[in-house]
């Protein structure tokens, strides 16, 4: 129970810092402005087209939520070291594992809260245009999106235990882009390449996270209805598993690492 309170307290510090920086507000306003402009495009006098607005909105939501979770997770440890906050926190009865769990929880939950606001804007725009999917598929999509944010946040945090904030954020963003955009075709590329290059690509195909398994945008945009529950639950479990692995890597990287206030 005490550990849980400690985790929640550390997560609270992430929220406070996040509110101070106002990242989420900026992105939210940017999303609303972009979608407003897109929705205002005149399409042959027709009121009907809605899917392109939802499609663009969900893509921007994925990009912005990725930016938020990467920046929030990647900068936490370095910032705490520079400010000395990490010493204050660890001087309490709080283990390094709980500290990391709190940092991940704070970054993930704040990115998720902002993401929910992004979804509200997108769904609202879609509803105004008259074409929006049912609540079940939106719920499924948001849950898997949350799982994807969990993975990216945990892996970025793991990188941040051993790298500078900038390097961790860059690599975290790279992992997210690869997992989202390249992984769906990596198997085919590996088969085409063959030889040692094919073996390396095959290894990457199985060793890196497949974020496309957590992306239900097509179902939402094209009104396909909810995904079958079996594959959906498997994807959710996949996301939770990768998040747990990321947190484990973060703990392994951080548990014995010397801490210095100058951040060196």
């Amino acid at each position: 129970m005490r550990a849980m309170r400690g985790v929640a307290m550390v997560a609270g510090t992430v929220w406070v810092e996040g509110f101070r920086r106002k990242d989420a507000y900026v992105l939210w306003v940017l999303l609303a402005a972009l979608l407003g402009v897109l929705a205002g495009v005149e399409v042959y006098g027709l009121a009907r087209p809605a899917r392109y607005v939802v499609d663009a909105g969900l893509l921007i939501t994925w990009v912005f939520s990725g930016v938020l979770v990467v920046t929030l997770s990647g900068r936490q440890i370095a910032a705490d070291e520079t400010s000395g906050m990490v010493f204050a926190l660890l001087s309490k009865p709080l283990g390094r594992g709980a500290y990391l769990a709190g940092k991940w929880l704070g970054a993930w939950s704040m990115a998720l809260a902002a993401t929910l606001l992004f979804y509200a804007v997108v769904a609202g725009m879609g509803a105004v245009r008259g074409g929006v999917s049912g609540p079940a598929v939106w719920g499924q999509a948001i849950a898997l999106h949350a799982a994807a944010l969990g993975i990216v946040g945990a892996l970025t945090l793991a990188l941040a235990t051993r790298l500078t904030a900038g390097a961790a954020m860059t690599l975290g963003a790279l992992l997210a882009v690869v997992g989202f955009a390249l992984m769906p075709t990596l198997g085919a590329r590996a088969a085409e390449a063959g030889g040692p290059a094919g073996a390396v690509l095959t290894a990457a195909h199985f060793a890196l996270p497949h974020l496309e398994l957590l992306d239900l945008r097509r179902r939402v945009v094209h009104a396909w209805g909810p995904s079958p529950w079996g594959p959906w639950l498997a994807s959710l479990a996949y996301g939770i598993g990768w998040t747990a692995l990321g947190l484990l890597l973060a703990w392994l990287g951080f548990r014995r690492r010397p801490l210095r206030q100058d951040g060196s």
Binding site: V43, G45, L46, R48, Y52, T164, S227
Partner: protein, 288 residues
Amino acid sequence: MRRPAPGRSVGDAAAPLLAVALWILLFSAACLLHAARPLVPAGTGPTGEAGVLDRTLGALRFLVAERATVAADVYYHGGVGHAAAPRRDPFRAWSERLDPVRHVHLHGAEAAEMLPWLRAATALDAGDVETWLLTAYWVERVGAEAGEVEGVYRRARQAHPRNYRVPQQQAFHRLRTGDWDGAETLLRLALRLWPQGEEDDPDHALRDRAHVASALGLLREVAGDAAAAEAGYREALAARPGHETAAEGLRRAAQGGDPVEARRVLRRLAAEEPAPHACDHHDHHHHH
């Protein structure tokens, strides 16, 4: 060694975010301009939005236009696009159980969902006549106002003043709206513009010529001018020996013509005009 100061959050990603935002704003502005008066008069160069996009995106706009056309096709198939040949991959199998792969087409007013992409494609690259024809076809089919359909044809003809396929397709649109005089004028224009040995697909062009000439024959037959109708049917048969409509029309014309039957055939031809979309079921990543 000193660790650099922590990153500046969104500030680190400001450049790509701004690039995305600017692109969307530019694209939207170009689409808004699309409805406005062209900056460059027709026939003297690229239309207004093309000029704006040329200055901002350069050759990149052709690439984006191509992707927009593909996006329209994907939307027509309910978001299920083309893919490589099937292979054994557990992640792909998983993804296919999670995501839809069924082969569907949008119907009726729902097809309007792909029009924003076609609009983008024509704004970004006015030089692709196929996209114009596809756009005009679907703008009409989803129930847009006649003025909007005519607007697409007007811009298509500005961009392709020497291409016979634009007036040809517009003529059949006019037939469907009951403007038979306008249709006849456009059919004659299509015949005048017909490429004399310069066509990319000679067989297709000959088929088009036969189609246009037989439609002209039918229009003349409806007007009671059997001699002109016969000339139209003969021209169609010259382009395409054995053309069924023309052969039947020629038989009727030889007996003085049958305006009622010609009117019925003409209406059927106009109504049966095939969609420019040609979906090869085997190259899609979806199940039937």
